[in-house]
Amino acid sequence: MTQKNTAEQTVKFYQTGTFTVGNRLLDEEFRTVQATEERSNSIDSGHRACQGCGQALGARYALDTAMRVTNNKIIAANATGCLEVFTTPYPETAWSIPWVHSLFGNVASVASGIAATLKAKGDSETRVIAQGGDGGTTDIGFACLSGLFDRNDDVLYICYDNGGYMNTGVQRSSATPGGARTATTMPVGEHPGSSFNTGKFLPAIAMAHEIPYVATASVHDLHDLERKVEKAMSFRGARYIQINVPCPLGWGSLPAHTIKLARMGVESGLVPLFEAEYGELTQSTKIRYQIPVEDYLKAQRRFAHVLKPANVAQLETIRALAEKNIKRYALL
């Protein structure tokens, strides 16, 4: 599937060292939507995201793609969270699309309501996107999201997974990785960091609802992200994309390492990238250069304690997780 501006790259260009995709090294038709002159701009500059915010990047690419493929006919609903707060400090807004924020836990239902209006008015052109952080998605907004899936409402739900409640100062969510330090799972005592519960891996839960399309993506591969959003928009009904978005503040990482960390998460096997249609896995992205999970953890303060010799058991658990993902999603 190679299309203008949204190419799933057939040839992979990486600049040495940073692994950054070299937009400028590509033929024009293979570049991301952001590289074109007539590109849309769903989220304008001047917003208040932290430096190196993966969510700001992911949201812009996802929504710009949706704008492009719908000819700017999208309406977005947003859960409370970083994305909402940093884009709409009253009286300013960074959004160039119709956008609504209601509450923290109801974005899926708000989006369903918008879709219901479009249906009642016979508008099949305008499409609806719901978006929220992992807390707003896997915890407080979970019931509404499951309801949306159940009804198969015509909404694309995008979860920006930064592994915690970042907007309120980095607390644990049910998507926080095991072992990670957050403000409510501090590295003290016998079991430092976030517990190794089963957590909630929402893409799998979404698949269990057998909705038309589920995908995971990561901000290090924006071409892949764009392709998946475009694919999602080609379906009607409920669709779910979860984007892995590093958060320098919450992860204790350097703003300049956001892209690199996103890539390392994937290459370590901890962040599996795949697609599924109607509950069946259709494709997963192979790891190109497998890296040890330690390399990924090392670059983040939230895992500093895990790398201490006393906590080797934690490290083993995380390794096992990566291996399980690799096997389950055939990542090698």
């Binding site: 708000v110 019931a143 509404c144």
Partner: protein, 422 residues
Amino acid sequence: MLQQISGSIAVANAVALCRPEVIPCYPITPQTHIVEHLSSLVKSGQLQDCTYENVESEFASMSFCIGASAAGARTYTATASQGLLYMMEAVYNASGLGLPIVMTLGNRAIGAPINIWNDHSDAMSVRDAGWIQLFVESNQQALDVHIQAFKLAEALSLPVMVNMDGFILTHAITRVDMPDQEQVDRFLPPFIPRQKLDTESPLSIGAMVGPDAFTEVRYLAHHKQKEALTIIEQQAEEFANIFGRDSGGLVKSYFAQESDIVFVAMGSVVGTMQDLINDLRSEGYSVGILSLRSFRPFPANAICNALKNAQQVIVFEKSFAVGMGGILASEIHMATQRYADIQGVQISSVIGGLGGRTITKQSLRKLVDKAKQGDLDAEVFMDLEANTVVRELKRQQDEQSSGPVAENILRDMGVVSASKTH
């Protein structure tokens, strides 16, 4: 057209005549028949261009309404009691965003102890939520006021809650005059939102507001409710012109201005009171009723105007603030304090009909007699079983142990408990 139908069916048919475009629903007694009937109307094609959706909770239902209304649809839902509490966060949000959603509240008590019967605890739990809250006395009013509610909501860009007593009205089969589509269309023009989510002119709704503007935003909400005082009266008049009936408005006086003793009440109990005062007046009592049809906005001036000749006011309400007392009574107290024409009126707060307890003419008559003799207490719990209360208080004193109170009382009253210990 005259029809013999239940209050719920009457309301559902009236709502359908208003051409709603989006209706999410979630079941809870005693409002369920309304949304059930609407579901059939949509399915059968009698109500067209309407998206009806079964959602997974009341929180989702009101959130669904928020999205639908923000996108420009005429939006309706219904709930009661626990359902209202479950959607609470979204209830505040809907009014904060200025969305003209109409919701029926089939008034019901709030647990624990769980109780499906009528009182006004649910309505009172959202009295500060910024919604317009209207009360109806009869099923005819219920259907009439729903038609007005859409017009009012859209004129003000505010959500409107129509309160109708659970079971007493929702389930009662009475004769109602059902308007025809042409009449309703004449009264209620299509909904044209002031602002909506529109790809042609994108706007952001629901931005974060800080200390610099929050007070002004809140004050403007208050101001809008005050504007509603005028609009509600105007629309009731307009309604009367088209439909030939008096329905709605802020207050309704039944001999209130010319009586010494005046009941103030909301909802279906006004009907029982009317029966009673017809008897009493023929016996020579000087007694009247002031029915509050709009609770939010609170029509302080209209109330005081109607009460200015009263000597004794009996505020009767089906809920109260635990640890404080009558809510309506204290609001009426405040209003009369501010109103220069009212001097030295006695206000008694009567709490009755809680959790569906029957309100009898006999008990109401006792209140009037006591008031007439000048010894009606400032706070009365009508028909309170004093023995039960005294026994339970004594037990609590003796045992010094904690536990769910209702179960103790039930055991005491001889109700079989699952534990089979009694």
